[in-house]
Every structure is written in structure tokens, then in C-alpha cells.
Symmetry: C2
Subunit: 397 residues, 2 copies
């Protein structure tokens, strides 16, 4: 039979990164294309110990149905953690456990957006979020990123041109994916003031915030939220393990209550073993020491990639210098065919992600590509940048 | 600020069962309102052993990001299991792992249904599915259940009256929730033929099929699916543990491919520890022996509830006699105020779910209520039916 595919899904495709990763599964290929934590970043012994304790001490709580909002001790602890780490504390706001931060994007759309509503994102931005927004048939407006974050002039122009139609602004202020850039304090305040002025919510996604390995901490936009207009999304994917699928959203109770209903209709609740594991890891282990270890791992890996880029291609391409997170964003000189360049890299066994994947128009003509330093081994970092330099030298000849 | 709640969520409320369960949290209250497996049904020692093995032998596979489709060995094993247990085998059909069966309802709507499309359900039916369908703003048509399953005449009338507009028929043929009824073989074939005749898909939900404790096995509708129009949803919630959140959907590759994209936009993938646990439980433990044990637990509990109903209220109310699953469906005599009756039960410390919760119109005036026998202890089963009989005797005086 011919299937009645819904309008929202008819043109939806799997993430282009997935397709690249399939090619990168060839063991000959060095992948700078993923966004995975380093395997050595997982505290596997602690996780094994905690999981054994949970299943011995409290098996029914781990195995039975539980409430959609999430494991209450974890919700309470997370509120304390985001207050202690970031100064986030909005009186009366609620925190709900999600099956990964991606659900924060999904349920925000489900709860706040009708088909055709306008949302604003940084551009480039996280392809996973873009795909979720597309699946809700939203009118996505991309506002260009600058060195210190989103262009406030262009953000205000987009808000003014779509007055009353914009449902939220999606921002990754810290170590942005894909750019690795961090929004300045002034721009964080500026974004908040613009959202307030135009009566628009902000969806603040902070998956990498704990992974700062250099530079000074900056407050999340949520810390300014006296007007109850910021939804803050966090995750355990980069600080504990992504395979356990635990994230959370913290925001105004009216919106969170509807997100709970959306979650109930989707997966009932997040897996209990994962939730209990996160709670015990936060409360019974030395979480700050684990974060310090992670920062060391990524400081070193980023340092290798940046060092090799500086040594081999400094005056040939431009690239960002992240203070944390997982990604470096590169730009080829004008005139170089980016898709052809990325294809040539793959022929030489190096996978990167073409920048077009992160644009609102996924076919946009751009000179950019994304590289990840967390997943490769140190040796692969050296080898991969050497391949990159080799191909650049041929192309620029 | 006033939040721009989307049309689809504006009138959505949490499941009424959740509200009842909150009252039933009072330890004085005996709850026949849940749908939880018996705590003694969890193979906790096996789960603890398998989880420890996974985290010792294969920690990175358990903790890293993985593919949206699910853990490949589990997908392969589940195809073998549904073939061996039920004779389900549709050439070329694909199986995707979900974070619980509820996602099967969600992603089916996301992939197949535009706002305002018509779907057909048994009535009464599972309130969780109804809420998901409502959240997609579907036009839900309920077709009455009879002793041997959905009314085929009324099903055909609904299909004929909405020709070209019906996207799928949602059915729980075996030990239906809330009724406990099982659809006859003739009606299973009749539903399939009607779906084929009208070019409509069937969403077959089979959460309880493995829990038959009396009577003869009947084939799932999926076994008739020569025309590639059935999506079959299964789950580990009732046969292993709901807290691990693992379900699956098996169906035509064109639809499954879009469901994978929908899942990627929602939770990226299902938790790995849970998936690896299910795979090892199916392949390395004596799964048939575990099912036989479960059937024994539910046979006994259902027997107690039915025995006490027969002894105490046989000629006063009517009730179904399930051959498996978790629920008994009761009907009060005409003229008795059902909501008042359920409220009086709660005053006497017995919680049941009013039948209106399972109707397309959640405020429908019905005489029915649902009782669960899997969650209470044996003693609570005796005590609860005694309370029920006591209140019935007063009301019918």
C-alpha cells in the first residue's frame, strides 16, 4: 500500500551527520565528525558500583513504573547543583527529568508552537535541534553568529519583523555546537533584554557548560530570568555518559506542567536505573573531581588539535579557539568548493561535517566545516590534522 | 508573562489515573487503580547479574551514544522471538527499539497523521494511547467493544463514513486494557480484512500477550499481514520491568524509516544499559521459564479477585473473566451513579479507575470501572473486594 506520511515528516531526513558517521565506521577512516564524549571520560567503575548498589538496595524503585516528572531526589539535587554551579535559581520554577536534552527541544515545540510559528536560532546551530524544529513545521529564522555570540542587531531585526509570531529563541551560549564559540556576558544580557522587550521565551541549551578548560565562567542566561521567560536545558550526556539518556529542563511551572503531559504521552517517564545512577553519582561521588578530570581530558585533546592546526594550516584556513566543549569550527578561503573539499578529505580517510548541516537551509553554500576533538585518540588527532593539511596544501596550490 | 501554549496542548490534562494514584498513595488506601506488574514479577537477581556483566565486559557500548534504530543484536533477537512466539514474520519489515511502547503510539501519529485526521479505536481503550492521540489533534472515533472484541459492523460503518480520511485503527486484541477482553480469531481476521478493504493501517498494541494464564493462544493480527498494513508494538514492561523503558515497533520499512527520524528528533536513542539487558535476558536466561513463572503469579492473583467477586457480588454487578493480562472490567447496574460510587469506594479506602477515563469522551456517562489485580498483595485483593462488596450492598439496598 502507499502510506499516508504526515506533512511534517514527508521531507524529513535522518541527520546528515549520521550518514557521514556510517562512512566513518570504516576503521581506516579517522572521524572528526562525531560529537561523542571521549571513551576514557566515562567513570565506568563508579557507574558499575552504583548500579550494583541500586539493584541490590532498591530494585523495585529501579524496575517499577515511576512518575513522569522524574525521580524526586534527583530533581531536588539538580536544582541544588545548578544553583551551586551557575547561580541558577528562579523562585517557583520546576525541573523535570528528560530522556536526554533532545526531548527538551521536542517538548518545547510540542507545548509552545503551532505549525507555522516562528522561532529564532543562532546560525549555524545544532543540527539535532534544527531537525526537531523542522519536524514541527516551524518557520525557523537563523541569526548569524559573531565571535562573541549571536548578532544582537540582527536578532532584534528578526524579532521586530515577526512581532507577535516568535515563540522562542534557541541559544547555546556556551561552547556552542558547531562553532565552539561562547557568547559574551554583554550579549547574554542583550539577548535576555530583547526577549523581554518582545515578550518571547528563550530556550537555553547548555550541554557543554561544565566542560570549560580555559577562561572565565560566564553566567547562563537563566540567571537573569526575573521575568520567567527562560527554559533551561541540561544533560548528563557530556559529564557522565550519553548512553544512559538523562537530561532535564528547568523553567516556569505553567510551561513545565504541559511538558510533563507531553512526556507522559511520549515515553511515560525516563528510565529509573539511569535516574537513580545520576542521583547517586551527584550525591555520593566526588562530582567536582570528576569534572576536573574531564576538563583535563578535553583541554589536552583540544590543545593537540589546535596546536597541530597552528603548526600546519595557520595561514591557510581560519578556525575557532574554544574555551571548552567538543568542537572547532573551520572556514575555507573564498573560492574553495567546501563540499568537494570535505569529500576529498573522506577519500583520504578523514571525516568532518560540512557546515551546511548546521544551517537553517541545509543546502546553503558555505565555506565552513566542523571538527570534533573529543572522540579521536591523541594519535588520530595528529594523523587527522596532517591529512587535513595535506589536502589543504593541494587545494590551495 | 502569559505563555503561548500550543493549540494541541491547551486542553490536555495529565492522565486521570495519575490523579487517582496520587490519592491512592495514602498507605491506608488499597489500590486496584494501577496497571503495574507485581513487584515479585521482577527477576531482580538476574537483572543485577546481567547489568554487572554488561558494565564489566562492555562499558563503552553501554555508556556511549548509539544508533537510533536500537542495539542491533536486540533487534535481531526480537524478530526471532516474535516469530517463534507468535508466528509474526513479514518479509522486509523492520524492527526499531523504542523507549517503551508508548513511543509507538506517539511516533505512529507523528509519522502518519496530520491534524484533524481520523483514527479509530476500540472503546473503551487505553487512556495513555487516547491522550497521545489527543495531543496530535486527531479526530478519534471509538467503536464499541463486544465480548469477543470490537464490533465489526460498527467498525465498517466508521470506515465507510470516513472513507479516505482514516489513518489507522488502534487495537489491543489480547487481554485488552481496560476490559481484559480478548478478540476472537474471526474478529481478528475481520479487522484485517476491513483494514485491507478500506486501505487503512492497523496499529496493533500487544503489551500483555505473553501473560496468558488460561485458554488457547490466538495469533496477533500482524500474522495476517500479507499487505504490509500492520504496525505491531511490543514491550518489555510487563515481561521484564517497566522501569527500564524498552519497547519496540515492527512494520513496513517505509513507515519504520520515518519513525526512526521521529525518534532521532525526540530522544536520539533508547538507553543502552536497558537494551543490552533485554538482549542478554532473552538470549542467556531461560525466558520461557520466566514467562511461565509470571503466568503463575497472575493466574493466582486473577483467581483470587475473580473468586472473591463470584463469592461476594456475583449477581450485583457484571465483570469480565480475563484469560491473561492485568485487568478486570466491571459494570454497575443501570441507575447507579458511577462517579459517586467510585468516590464512595475511595472514602472506604479502595481506589479503582472510573470507566469514563477510557472513553473517547472522557466525560461520557458510563456504568463501568476498571480493577487491577497485579499490583495489590493477595491480602489486599481479599480486603479490597470485601470493601467493594460492602459499598455495593449499601448502594443497592
Amino acid at each position: 500500500m502507499s502510506y499516508p506520511i504526515a506533512d511534517r515528516m514527508r521531507t524529513m531526513q535522518p541527520s546528515p551527520i549520521r550518514e557521514i558517521l556510517k562512512m566513518a565506521a570504516d576503521p581506516k577512516v579517522i572521524s572528526f565528525a562525531a560529537g561523542n564524549p571521549a571513551p576514557e571520560a566515562f567513570p565506568t567503575e563508579a557507574i558499575a558500583q552504583i548500579t550494583a548498589d541500586i539493584l541490590r538496595e532498591n530494585p523495585v524503585a529501579a524496575l517499577q513504573y515511576s512518575v513522569t516528572e522524574g525521580y524526586q531526589p534527583l530533581r531536588t539535587t539538580l536544582k541544588e547543583v545548578i544553583k551551586a554551579n551557575y547561580g541558577i535559581e528562579s523562585p517557583g520554577h520546576e525541573l523535570v527529568i528528560l530522556s536526554g536534552a533532545q526531548q527538551g527541544m521536542d517538548f518545547t515545540c510540542k507545548v509552545l508552537c503551532n505549525e507555522g510559528d516562528v522561532i529564532i536560532t543562532e546560525e549555524p546551530t545544532f543540527v539535532g535541534a534544527l531537525n526537531t524544529f523542522r519536524s514541527y513545521q516551524l518557520n525557523i529564522i537563523g541569526v548569524p553568529l559573531e565571535e562573541d555570540g549571536i548578532s544582537l542587531e540582527k536578532l532584534e531585526a528578526a524579532l521586530a519583523a515577526n512581532k507577535g509570531k516568535v515563540r522562542f529563541i534557541y541559544l547555546i551560549p556556551t561552547f556552542q555546537n558547531p562553532s565552539g564559540l561562547t557568547m559574551s556576558l554583554a550579549k547574554r544580557q542583550g539577548c535576555y533584554e530583547l526577549a523581554k522587550k518582545y515578550g518571547v521565551m528563550i530556550l537555553e541549551d547548555n550541554p557543554y557548560g561544565e566542560l570549560r578548560f580555559t577562561g572565565d565562567e560566564l553566567p547562563p542566561i537563566k540567571t537573569f530570568d526575573r521575568d520567567n521567560l527562560v527554559l533551561y536545558v541540561g544533560t548528563f550526556s557530556k559529564i557522565l555518559a550519553p548512553g544512559i539518556r538523562v537530561g532535564y529542563v528547568y523553567g516556569p511551572p505553567e510551561v513545565i506542567a504541559k511538558m510533563v503531559v507531553a512526556k507522559q504521552c511520549n515515553d511515560t517517564h525516563t528510565g529509573n536505573i539511569s535516574q537513580l545512577l545520576c542521583h547517586r553519582f551527584l550525591t555520593q561521588y566526588d562530582f567536582p573531581a570528576h569534572l576536573e578530570y574531564l576538563r583535563g581530558v578535553y583541554r589536552k585533546k583540544c590543545g593537540i588539535m589546535l596546536g597541530e592546526l597552528d603548526r600546519l594550516v595557520q595561514n591557510k584556513i581560519t578556525y575557532t579557539r574554544p574555551q571548552g566543549g567538543l568542537f572547532i569550527w573551520c572556514e575555507l578561503p573564498a573560492g574553495v568548493d567546501m563540499p568537494g573539499f570535505v569529500a576529498t578529505l573522506l577519500e583520504h580517510n578523514l571525516a568532518v561535517v560540512p557546515g551546511s548541516a548546521f544551517m537553517v537551509d541545509g543546502y546553503a553554500s558555505v565555506q565552513t566545516f566542523r571538527m570534533n576533538y573529543s572522540t579521536p585518540t591523541d594519535e588520530q588527532l595528529y594523523q587527522g590534522v596532517a591529512i587535513l593539511a595535506d589536502v589543504i596544501n593541494r587545494v590551495l596550490q
